[in-house]
């Protein structure tokens, strides 16, 4: 906190923070307001006497109804949820085990392998989707949820591995050694001692992985084609933008509802999540 006169605090703390919050929250507000704004207001020109971009006096649920009845939105939500959860679970499982191995087991090339895994994370998806599309065709899983469940881990596993590796390194190795002297096998020591302590880290990795899969666009766009297989980000964009016509109301309603699960996940785990980013364990 900045010490000194009150105006200084306003100038250097509240004002920048207010602007920051405004900048962050405004898109969400815009999304929400557009969702409930009737079409005739939405497409009113800016020089119209009743032009009021920041609020609406006649809120309507038409766009939401339209979204749920005219499109396969519920189907997209279900697809996205399923794919994100499955991809997250697979990635967490692999990431936790790999992170543990890289942080704890002494074997040749451990350091090199850790770096190599991180480097794969840096390869852009916009390049990777081309060879991946080929593989997906070879295995005939195109246009099924498996196309995404099995490809999302290609970037989620390196991410989870790297994050968990860092977290495991903050846990004193004596805890595990003590458990092994106490009579636990390496697996038991991991299960009863290391994993419970690493829970904040695991939750952080899980939340990140879930969010990344939920919002993923390119792979979903390329690997899925039929409307009933699509995920929310792709479905909303491809079905509600037809040619150069943007159906802003349903589009924003889709975006708003689509972001709800992520928001719930975040707020539910926020305590652990924050602890995972900042905390470590001291004996």
């Amino acid at each position: 906190m900045i010490e000194g006169a009150r105006w200084k605090k306003w100038l250097w703390f509240y004002l920048p923070m207010g602007m920051f919050i405004l900048g962050l929250l405004f898109p969400f507000y815009w999304m929400a307001v557009t969702t409930v704004r009737p079409d005739r207001e939405l497409y009113r020109p800016w020089n119209h006497p009743l032009y009021s971009p920041f609020w609406t006096s006649n809120p309507t649920l038409d766009h939401i109804k339209n979204l749920l009845q005219e499109t396969l939105f519920d189907r997209w939500m279900w697809n996205t949820m399923l794919i994100a959860l499955a991809a997250t679970l697979i990635s967490l499982l692999c990431g936790v085990l790999a992170g543990y191995a890289l942080a704890r087991l002494r074997f040749r090339w451990a350091g090199l392998l850790g770096t190599a895994i991180f480097v794969t994370y840096l390869v852009p998806q916009t390049l990777l989707f081309i060879p991946l599309a080929d593989i997906i065709r070879d295995y005939s899983i195109g246009d099924t949820p498996w196309a995404l469940i099995l490809t999302y881990p290609t970037f989620l596993i390196p991410f989870c591995t790297w994050l968990m590796m860092g977290y495991f390194k903050t846990i004193p190795k004596e805890l595990e050694e003590c458990a092994r002297i106490d009579g636990a096998t390496r697996w038991q020591a991991m299960l009863y001692i290391i994993l419970p302590i690493a829970l904040p880290g695991i939750l952080s990795a899980g939340i990140f992985a879930f969010t990344l899969s939920w919002n993923e666009f390119i792979y979903a766009l390329v690997f899925l084609s039929s409307p009933e297989q699509k995920t929310v980000p792709v479905g909303v964009v491809s079905e509600l933008i037809r040619g150069d016509v943007f159906f802003w109301g349903p589009l924003m309603a889709g975006a708003l509802i689509g972001s709800v699960p992520v928001a719930i996940v975040y707020s539910f785990f926020v305590e652990h999540y924050v602890a995972g980013m900042t905390g470590s364990v001291k004996g």
């Binding site: 003590c178 092994r180 002297i181 106490d182 009579g183 636990a184 419970p196 302590i197």
Partner: protein
């Protein structure tokens, strides 16, 4: 019953030979302390006994049974770590019960043992707490409790007191000793603190650079150090050393250095005669130096200048300079001294040590 035997024990890392040919027999119920400066291989040795470190060559036996290949859990040992290594997500009770649960003890038996250990250590009131809610001393007790509930054959301690503040360390030291008297379990204790080593150990093993320098009872190490390193490491303040030339004159040997001239005591003449004409290291403990009185023979006395006077209440540590040599003497607290004064000090001729200049071995 537990007798631990280390036979030609070696630990080599890629480029470091951390433990070199350690041979040690730890008798049943004995409390043995491994002591040495950091990096001397004492902790590595202990971790090899625990099974946390692979043995490069040599053998470890507990009760005549080779344990090299046994997993830590199968060695029937318990270890107390420097940072306590308490499981932070478990209560004190669960921390202590963990080892028993892993070994499939009955719930009633676990409860009985944990409560008994808690009573011995005076932590009955803390069983429901989490480690983070405990003070350093309490955590230390829980760590001890976790070791004693298992009733293992051997206790291993890895610098268990070095995270505590000075007053608590002294208190826990006494409690550890009392605990050992009561439990009579064989114990191996690692520390870098020679006071801890001297006060706790039935026998003390001094190590340096992976090599055992001397094994012996505390007073034996103190009174008859085998080499210059042990002499300097054991004892506080440390032994004074001065390089002296041995010269023979009229059948009498003199140890001579600028500012210091001492007659070699008659008992040592035979062994020191072959050093006549060469140089050796003279060692003298601070308490083997005293204020010279008229009765002291001149050949054991010398003049020096007081540089620092440290009154400790029960004694005064007197830092003096004699020629180029800085010496510490432990003198009577009633002595009145001022800095820069000339002080005449006398050696106790029975308590002079001589070491070979090259090898450092005691002569």
């Amino acid at each position: 019953m537990a007798r631990v035997l280390l036979k030609n024990l070696n630990k080599k890392y890629d480029d470091v030979h951390a433990v070199k040919d350690v041979n040690l027999e730890i008798r049943d119920r004995e409390f043995v302390v491994l002591v040495g400066p950091s990096g001397c291989g004492k902790t590595t040795t202990l971790r090899m006994v625990a099974g946390l470190e692979e043995i490069s060559s040599g053998e470890i036996q507990i009760d005549e049974q080779r344990i090299n290949e046994l997993a830590p859990m199968d060695r029937d040992i318990a270890m107390v770590f420097q940072n306590y290594a308490l499981y932070p997500h478990m209560s004190v009770y669960d921390n202590m019960a963990f080892g028993l649960r892993m070994r499939k003890f009955e719930t009633e038996e676990i409860e009985r043992r944990v409560n008994q250990a808690a009573e011995i250590l005076g932590i009955q009131g803390l069983l429901a707490r989490r480690p983070r809610q405990l003070s350093g001393g309490q955590r230390q007790r829980v760590a001890l409790g976790r070791a004693i509930v298992r009733n293992p054959r051997v206790f291993l301690f890895d610098e268990p007191l070095s995270n505590l503040d000075a007053a608590l360390r002294v208190q826990m030291r006494v409690e550890l000793k009392r605990l050992h008297e009561r439990l009579e379990t064989t114990a191996i204790y690692v520390t870098h603190d020679q006071v801890e080593a001297m006060t706790l150990g039935d026998r003390v093993v001094v190590m340096k650079d992976g090599v055992v320098q001397q094994v012996g009872e505390p007073l034996e190490l103190y009174g008859r150090p085998l080499n210059r390193f042990v002499a300097g490491f054991i004892g506080s303040p440390a032994m004074n050393f001065a390089e002296v030339a041995i010269a023979e004159a009229n059948g009498v040997l003199w140890a001579d250095a600028r500012g210091l001239r001492v007659k070699v005591p008659p008992a040592r003449i035979e062994t020191l005669r072959r050093y006549a004409g060469s140089r050796v290291i003279l060692g003298v403990r601070p308490e083997a130096l005293r204020m010279a009185s008229a009765a002291d023979p001149a050949e054991y006395a010398f003049d020096s200048t007081a540089e620092v006077v440290e009154p400790l209440g029960s004694e005064i540590l007197l830092n003096v300079r004699a020629g180029p040599h800085a010496l510490v003497a432990r003198v009577d607290p009633s002595t009145r001294l001022k800095v820069h004064e000339t002080v005449r000090l006398a050696f106790d001729p029975e308590r002079l040590h001589f070491f070979d200049t090259a090898s450092g071995a005691a002569i």
